[in-house]
Amino acid sequence: MQEATFLILTALAQGPQHGYGIIQDVGRISGERVALRAGTLYGALERLDADGLITVDREEIVDRRLRRYYRLTDEGSARLAEEARRLQESAATALQRLDALRPGLAGGAA
């Protein structure tokens, strides 16, 4: 799963959001490291919708503009949970190996 996709799903894990809300939330989640733009966002939303991971929750007209809210489907929640676990395991493995590597590096440098 690409990082942008993961972050979009994570943004929707908090509840239904519209496009601009997702962009802002993704910025917050990633510590402003990832700045989604409309083309990338809607390409990802199309894919996720087609794959059944998200669905349209509701539509609103605000200031004469369409706002479409998206939410995670059950399948989307499951995929996000699975991906989060995988990333967590990978991160844990990386940290363990770094911990194991440090004494050796320290010894080599001595």
Binding site: Y20, G21, I23, A38, G39, L41, Y42, E46, V62, R65
Partner: protein, 367 residues
Amino acid sequence: MSAAGGFLTPGAPHAELERRYRRLLRLYPREFRARRTDEMIGVLMAGAADGQDRPARGDVSDIVRGSLLARLRGPRGGWPFALSAFALTAPLFLVLTDILQAAFPYQESHARTSVLAAHGGPAAGSPQSALVPQHAVGLPLTSQPAFLILAAGHLIVAAAVLAGLRRTALAALVIAAAADYTQWTAFHVLRPGLGTLAFLTIAVFPLEAIALASAGPRPARRREGWQHVFPVLALAVAAQLLAFSSAASRAGEPHVPSGDTIMVTGCVLALLAVLLPLPLGLGWRASLLLAAACYTLVILAAAASGPSFGPSLGRLPQSLGMGPMRGLAAHTVIVTVLYLPPLLVLSRAVAKTVRTRRPRGRGDLAA
């Protein structure tokens, strides 16, 4: 504007910016635009800075990239749509092939003489040439019953798919295939150029039959803008012209294009078909099927057009000094291997289509 949730009211200050964004969004395929334009405009305008009247450079490159990917991805529907698009367009291609065949009648020429000589047959003008069946040596195709049945069958198939009548199209396809086979067996030796062209339509029949049986033309026909596939047909006609008629007339003498020329043309055509989804927005799956058809049409025909007229590959068994039986077996293997890629593409498309249809029930795609 960039305040959270601060969507603009369409008004004078940002009217120009919105107009420019809307123009930029036209890069997306029509179906995508119909679903997303208003929503995307809302997001783009919400992210615009105060006083901004031109799209941000980052947004421009992001939209260009996104639109290309959307075109490559194609309309929603995956393989069933791609197969349906093929079912809808291939019969039109067959009709155009018939027109080409009728438009380039074989003439008495040294080309035929050399063809006959290569097969140990009588030279044109020689007393023995009278022994060659007249239907095989120069009468216009439009006077051949098999061709007329074939052309009528193709027309009915094309009309039926345009009307969304799958079973009628399938029935007409079977009749046309029988007529095509009859025509090909009569012509493929003595009229290698046009005989090969007739053979090409045979190559389309199994692909079209499978596409009709599994997806049918209706899903593609329901899509707005499916008419955009007509440029594909124009391309196919251009390639046919190139492959079979580029050397058709030198000083009034028709020539048979070499098998290698046909093969190269087939490869170029298949490559062009792969590139088509970008301008047409048909998606990579449809482009793969189109490429498979083009590849099958030209390369298979070239490989199978006989040891004397086929490409170097087709002549390989002969070059290796194989006898008639072993040569035939080797030639069959070569043709089968050439046929494998389009068959693999098609089998994947059919498998996906059947899997997609099952949960929906039989009614949705039935004619």
